[in-house]
Symmetry: C2
Subunit: 266 residues, 2 copies
């Protein structure tokens, strides 16, 4: 049995003292360095593999401070504070002693409370009825994801008035959902400036935050089925814009909300 | 001339090597520890006062790892990586050597690009035509803010179906807007669970992220006028929920988007 390419990409070797060695994976290459989603997933995996981890992911913030070069990198994961129901982590990715990425994560234990969701999934046709979109070959990482758009497909040359997209998505080949793969999926919404400019404008995520709204059992219950997502930018201003995305399970359950600030040139 | 209470609260003494000494301010006390917004503002102020700072705030993430006790605290601000247009910071608040708060910030220099906003301000009656809402005295920090609600006022005993609020807000007494005061205003949207439960359910911000969409001149141009804001929760699930807020200037300009994950009991 061969492992899924995603699991190969986020694989880490424990070096002790909260340090882990990883390698960039060619299948998750972006135009410059690795796909941000695989970096986020790998950082989350480091905490999950730390001997002192408490509970499951609640939030993750990743700051893309500098380029990650192809090859080996080291992650340091430090549990800075452990409380009764939450645990705060500080993380860094280094290469050759230089910090490429910083991150903070909160893990914790959920207890049963009153619960409700105010953000229902939009109506959408069945994923199988929609065409699978392919990104240009230069966007290597996109080959690991199946994306079937309901609206907001980027069309080269067309300057669209809205940066909003709604799509079904999952790993390709399909893979049972867990926190790490969900972290990766939280970054597949290519820069919203592409939709507005009608071209692959130079752009890169500066900082990414994910809030996880479901526990491990709820993610496992999604199996390898499609997830529904919407993504949208709010303001594009002099070199930077933000975009937010909401991700629901195939069953309509809100699984994650995610936000990022993106650098762009025009 | 006396200084504004906000400026007293975020005042820091530089200790050298990126370390600063601050003090909690009784006027910004919350039910437990200080108001999160004043903590966020103080962290931002530390970076602004650091001799190596480059440009203006683009993003800030604050992780409320543990309680901040009344009294003195120390902030350490480290510029972990400086690029051509962005600078990444790691920060921590310590008391007696224990980490109470961690944070990361991105500062940077904006360059003129194509710009647009996709999130217009909602229509709202003039702030002067709306009643000023007062929070219970136990919420001490709220006395430093003027809040005039258009909708989504918490009513004790009323379990509302939506966690959305829209309001005009500003410092009280009025104070010219800058990045630090905007950071404070980004956290004045009390836990959305209050609206849903109809009571001041025990709740506290776990992690807060702010994206700044305007430059210093655009903030200064707001003067001390009211800002318009909406805040809303997405999913409440077994002890944690997220809430997002959007903040516009009096002129309708989108100034900041902010998101947080909140712990709650019920």
């Amino acid at each position: 049995m061969t492992s899924h390419v995603f699991d190969d990409a986020v694989a880490l070797e424990a070096l002790g003292d909260g340090r882990f060695r990883g390698h960039t994976h060619p299948a998750y290459a972006n135009m410059v360095g690795p796909f941000g989603g695989i970096t986020a997933a790998t950082l989350l995996r480091a905490v999950e593999q730390h001997p002192d981890v408490l509970g499951a992911p609640l939030s993750l913030t990743v700051n893309f401070a500098g380029p990650v070069a192809d090859g080996e990198f080291e992650i340091e994961a430090v549990p800075v504070r452990t409380n009764r129901s939450t645990q705060h982590w500080s993380l860094a990715i280094t290469q050759g002693g230089a910090i490429a990425t910083t991150a903070t994560a909160v893990f914790g234990q959920r207890r049963e409370t009153w619960s409700d969701s105010e953000t229902p999934a939009p109506g959408a046709p069945a994923p199988e009825s929609l065409e699978q979109q392919r990104m240009p070959d230069i966007v290597v990482w996109a080959g690991n994801y199946e994306m079937r758009f309901i609206d907001g497909i980027m069309t080269p040359g067309a300057q669209q008035e809205s940066s909003s997209s709604t799509l079904w998505m999952r790993d390709s080949p399909a893979r049972p959902l867990d926190f790490t793969s969900l972290a990766g999926l939280c970054d597949i919404f290519y820069p919203r400036i592409y939709l507005r400019s009608g071209q692959m404008t130079p752009a890169g995520t500066v900082t990414l935050t994910i809030y996880f709204h479901a526990d491990a059992a709820a993610l496992a219950a999604q199996g390898d089925d499609y997830l529904l997502a919407t993504a949208k930018g709010h303001r594009f201003n002099n070199g930077f814009f933000d975009q937010s995305a909401t991700i629901w399970g195939h069953d309509g359950q809100l699984l994650a909300t995610t936000h990022q600030l993106v650098y762009f040139k025009s």
